[in-house]
Symmetry: C2
Subunit: 360 residues, 2 copies
C-alpha cells in the first residue's frame, strides 16, 4: 500500500532537494505531480508501487526513472519470499519486464534495469541473503553514481556558461529529474554556485508543466534569477536577443547524435539555429543508446489526451474532442552544438565522438 507521507520528516542533512530516498525497506519519492503546491513524499513499499509511480510520472526525468527502477527492483528482491537464489533471479526478471513497460522513450530506465539483471546473473551462485544484499548495493551504487555523474556534468558544462549569460531551458532537468543535482539545470546550478551571474528563461513545458511547476521551484530555492514563459514565447525572446543559448536534457541519444527529449525541444533547436544561438544537450552517458543508428528509431510515447484537455484538474477544452499528445520529440544532430556528458563535452562528428565517450 502506498502511504502518503504527510508526516514524513526530512532530516537536517536533506535540506537540499532529495527527490528519492532509500529507506531500508521502502522508497520515498518527492511526489512531482504535487509540486509546487505540496512538498509531499510518496512512500512505496513494493516494486509495483514504484512502477506505478514511474508510469504516472510522480517520479519523472530520464536519470530519475533509471534510479527509481533500479531501487524498485532492489526493493522487490528485498521483499521477495522466494527461498532460492534462482527463484529470486526469476522474480527479478519479472520485475525487469514490469519496469520496461512503464515508459518507452528514456533509455536510462532500460540501462538501469538491464544493469540490475546482469548483476543478478553474476550473483547466481551467491546465497539468497547475499544475492539480496549485493543487488541492493548495486541499486544504491546506480543512485549515488547518478548524483556524482551530474556533478561532473555540472563541472564540465560550466565552461559553456559565460558570466551574465541568459540561458533558456526546457522541462525540468534538475535535482527532481535525476538522483539529485541535475543535468542541464545542474550546470546552471554549478555555474551559479561558482559565482557566474546567469539568468534563466524557463519554458512552462505543456502539457504537464514541468518547467512552470518544478524548474521554477528549484531555481527559487537556489535564488537563481529567472523568468517563466509559455512555450510559444521563446522565439520572440530570441529575436529580441534576450536569450543567448539553449541548454536542455535528453531522454535518449542515438548513435548519430539525434536526441529525444521533452516535446518542444525540437522547436527550440530550430529557433536556436534560426537565431544563430548555441544549442546544448546535457545528459549522462547512460542516456546514449548506441544500438540505435538514428533518432528515427526512438519510440515516442503518446500519453493520455486528458493531459492536454485538463490542467491541474481543471478542464480547459470542450468535451469529446480530438487531441494529440506526443511526450517527446527528436532533434536531429545537425541542430546540436554539443552534448555535455560526465566523461567530456562531445562535439560533432557525433557518431564518432559519442561512441568514444560511451566506450571510454
Amino acid at each position: 500500500m502506498v502511504t502518503r507521507g504527510a508526516n514524513f520528516k526530512l532530516s537536517d542533512k536533506l535540506r537540499e532537494i532529495k527527490p528519492i530516498i532509500w529507506q531500508k525497506d521502502k522508497i520515498a519519492f518527492l511526489d512531482q505531480s504535487k509540486l509546487p503546491w505540496k512538498e509531499e513524499y510518496l512512500v512505496c513499499h513494493n516494486y509495483k508501487e514504484v512502477a506505478e509511480a514511474i508510469r504516472s510520472m510522480k517520479v519523472r526525468g530520464a536519470p530519475a526513472i533509471g534510479v527509481a527502477a533500479a531501487l524498485g527492483i532492489a526493493l522487490g528482491i528485498l521483499k521477495s519470499k522466494k527461498k532460492t537464489t534462482l527463484q529470486l533471479f526469476n522474480e527479478l526478471e519479472v520485475m525487469v519486464k514490469v519496469f520496461k513497460e512503464t515508459r518507452p522513450t528514456a533509455v536510462n530506465l532500460f540501462w538501469a534495469v538491464d544493469k540490475m539483471k546482469k548483476k543478478g546473473l553474476s550473483f547466481l551462485n551467491f546465497t539468497p541473503k547475499n544475492f539480496k544484499k549485493f543487488l541492493i548495493e548495486e541499486a544504491l551504487n546506480i543512485f549515488n553514481e547518478d548524483i556524482e555523474t551530474n556533478k561532473k556534468i555540472g563541472k564540465l558544462g560550466i565552461q559553456l556558461i559565460d558570466d551574465n549569460d541568459t540561458v533558456l531551458t526546457h522541462c525540468n532537468t534538475g535535482a527532481l529529474a535525476t538522483g539529485g543535482y541535475g543535468t542541464a539545470l545542474g550546470i546552471i546550478r554549478y555555474a551559479w554556485k561558482k559565482g557566474k551571474k546567469v539568468f534563466v528563461f524557463v519554458t512552462e513545458t505543456r502539457p504537464l508543466l514541468q518547467g512552470a511547476r518544478l524548474t521554477t521551484w528549484e531555481l527559487k530555492k537556489e535564488n537563481i534569477p529567472f523568468s517563466l514563459i509559455t512555450d510559444n514565447m521563446a522565439g520572440y525572446l530570441m529575436r529580441k536577443k534576450e536569450i543567448k543559448k539553449v541548454l536542455v536534457g535528453a531522454d535518449r541519444i542515438a548513435a548519430n547524435g539525434d536526441v529525444a527529449n521533452k516535446i518542444g525541444t525540437y522547436t527550440l533547436a530550430i529557433l536556436a539555429k534560426e537565431h544563430s544561438l548555441p544549442f546544448y544537450i546535457a545528459a549522462p552517458t547512460s542516456s546514449i543508446d548506441l544500438n540505435l543508428d538514428s533518432g528515427e528509431e526512438i519510440p515516442i510515447e503518446e500519453r493520455s489526451s486528458v493531459e492536454v484537455t485538463h490542467l491541474a484538474g481543471q478542464q480547459i477544452a470542450p468535451d469529446g474532442i480530438g487531441v494529440r499528445n506526443p511526450s517527446f520529440d527528436v532533434t536531429p544532430h545537425r541542430y546540436i552544438s554539443a552534448i555535455i556528458t560526465e566523461k567530456g563535452i562531445v562535439y560533432p562528428p557525433f557518431k564518432l565522438n559519442l561512441a568514444k565517450v560511451k566506450n571510454s
Copy 2:
C-alpha cells in the same frame, strides 16, 4: 452596470455564432473569457463597459475589437445627455481616447475609432438627433462590413486549401475574433462548406488558450475534424509531415509585410520555413497599417503575469516568481508566403502589393 445575461435569449436566426449583438440601447458580447465552459452574453449599457470588455479580453480578436469599439462609441453617443452636436462630438473625442488606450497592438481598433471620429467631423452641421442616428449607422456599417469582408476572405482563400489538406492554425480567428465568420478560420469554414475535406491542427495558444477554448468550440459546432495540440507540438507534427500548411490571422500588418499576431506565430513561421511549408496570413485590409515601415515599430502589449502563472483560476507556478508575458510577436515578411485580404491575395513583394491592395 454590466448585466450578465444568463437569460439572454438567442433568437432562431442566431443559431450561428454571434459574438456581438447590437440591441438598440445596449450591446451583448458572447463572453469569451467564459467559453467553452459557459455560453453567456455580457451585456454592456455604456461605452465604458465596452472599453472594459475589450481591456479584459471578454471580446478579443483584432477585427472584433475594431467592431466593438465602433459600436461602443455609437452606444456612448446614443446615451449622451449633451445638448448640442459640438458637445456630442467633443464627447466622441473623449471616447476615442478611452478606446485607443484599451489595447495597443491590433490596428483595427484604431482604424475603427478613427473612422467614427472622421464621420463625426463630417456630421458636425447635423442636428444632435441626426448626429446620433448617422453615427450609429456608421458603426453598424463597420460591423456588417466586417462580416462581409470575412466572407470575401473565405471565398478568396479557399483556392489555397486543397482537398484532404491538413492545416495548422493558431489562436482564434473565427467568428469569435471578428464581427462574425472569421478570417483564417473563416477560410477553413468556407472550404469545409464547399465540400473540401480539411483537417485542422489547433494550437492551444497559451497563456489564454484561445485555441483550446475557442477554436475547438467553433470547429466542433461546424463538425470540422481537428486535433488540439499544445503549442510546443507543432514542430513534431511538421517533421512527421502531418501538417501541410499554416494559416493564421493578424493584429497588424506593417507596410513591408511584417505581421504582428498572437505570441507564438513567429515560431510557427520559422517552423514552416524549416519544413518548407507555406505560411499564410488572413486579415482584412483594415489590419494593414501603411504608416509603419516595418514590424519593428508595432507596439507589443505585455500583459499581467497572472495570465501565465494561473490557468482558469488555478495557480500553476510558485508564488512570487518572475514572468514575461508578451501577447504578440512580429513575423518578418520573408517568412510569409501570402496575405489573404478581402480585396485579393497579396504575394511578395509585399511593400508594393500591400500598398496597392490597401489603396484599391
